[in-house]
């Protein structure tokens, strides 16, 4: 990180190689839109480069980068919501089926419904769920990224799953009509 703070291009390239897919994957899980995820990832790495000198090493580099990713993504989503009233005539994001490129082929249809339900979760539950199940991070790291305790993350995940089941239940009945 010190080399990056000093403007070392090679060190930055190595860091990018290590984290590009992780950052993009988390951003994609949230935004469910490839262009938005790309915008987030670009913004995250620019922030990482410009703030490298402020990294004190109190947390793991990965935790720090994931935290930036979550913040940048949430800001983008907020911005999009603020200006969504201007997109007259365009289809609402909730109406678009998202297909994550990493899902196994035979599960793609099921995952579409799940991602639709993820969008209905409250923000904290959404973050815990995406970091744990879409990115596959250990619970303790999720807690570190969210700045909370392991127990709190487990509770968020439990509530999140309950809410997902409820949303999916509603979807099940809608689908049968």
């Amino acid at each position: 990180m010190r080399s990056i703070a000093n403007g070392d291009r090679r060190a930055f390239g190595q860091l990018y190689k290590l984290f590009a897919d992780k950052v993009y994957n988390v951003a994609l899980g949230y935004t469910q839109n490839e262009q938005d995820a790309e915008e987030v990832a670009q913004d995250v790495f620019v922030k990482v480069f410009r703030n490298a000198a402020q990294f004190k090493g109190e947390a793991k580099v990965s935790t720090w980068i994931y935290r930036i990713t979550v913040n940048v993504t949430l800001n983008l989503i907020k911005k999009r919501k603020r200006y969504s009233f201007l997109s007259f005539g365009k289809p609402n994001k909730e109406e678009i089926d998202f297909e994550h490129p990493g899902i196994l082929l035979e599960r793609k249809e099921d995952a579409k419904a799940l991602f639709k339900a993820i969008r209905t979760l409250p923000q904290q539950q959404q973050t815990a769920f995406i970091l744990s199940y879409v990115e596959g991070l250990p619970r303790q790291q999720v807690a570190d990224i969210m700045g909370t305790s392991l127990k709190a993350v487990e509770a968020l995940l439990q509530r999140g799953k309950r809410n997902l089941r409820k949303s999916l239940g509603d979807l099940y009945y809608k689908r049968r009509k």
Partner: protein
């Protein structure tokens, strides 16, 4: 019926099993590099612009005021140009250079 529903929901919840991470697009690094290593354009703060505009306005106002004062004063050069030659007899007599 309920069993069907529960199975349907379970299938959705378990659909992330075995998933791989999405890959960042190839061109992304070039975009990041361009933004990071390009020299930043110097941005002048709005307060600086305001201060500069205020100084310029003051300067202009002072100029207008000075021109106005000059035009109003009775001995201004602008006034002289319209005055009759009789109004300045001494000056005209001073110009008799070849009167030997």
């Amino acid at each position: 019926m309920d069993q069907d529903k529960e199975k349907w929901i379970d299938d959705k919840i378990n659909s992330l099993e075995g998933m791989r991470s999405a890959k960042a697009p190839e061109h992304l690094f070039a975009k990041v590099e361009q933004e990071v290593f390009q020299p930043e354009a110097k941005i002048v703060a709005f307060s600086q612009w305001r201060a500069a505009a205020a100084v310029a306005l003051l300067f202009l106002a002072f100029n207008f005021w000075a021109i106005g004062q000059q035009l109003q004063s009775p001995d201004s050069t602008a006034g002289q140009s319209t005055a009759s030659p009789e109004a300045t007899p001494t000056l005209v007599s001073d110009f008799k250079l070849y009167d030997l």
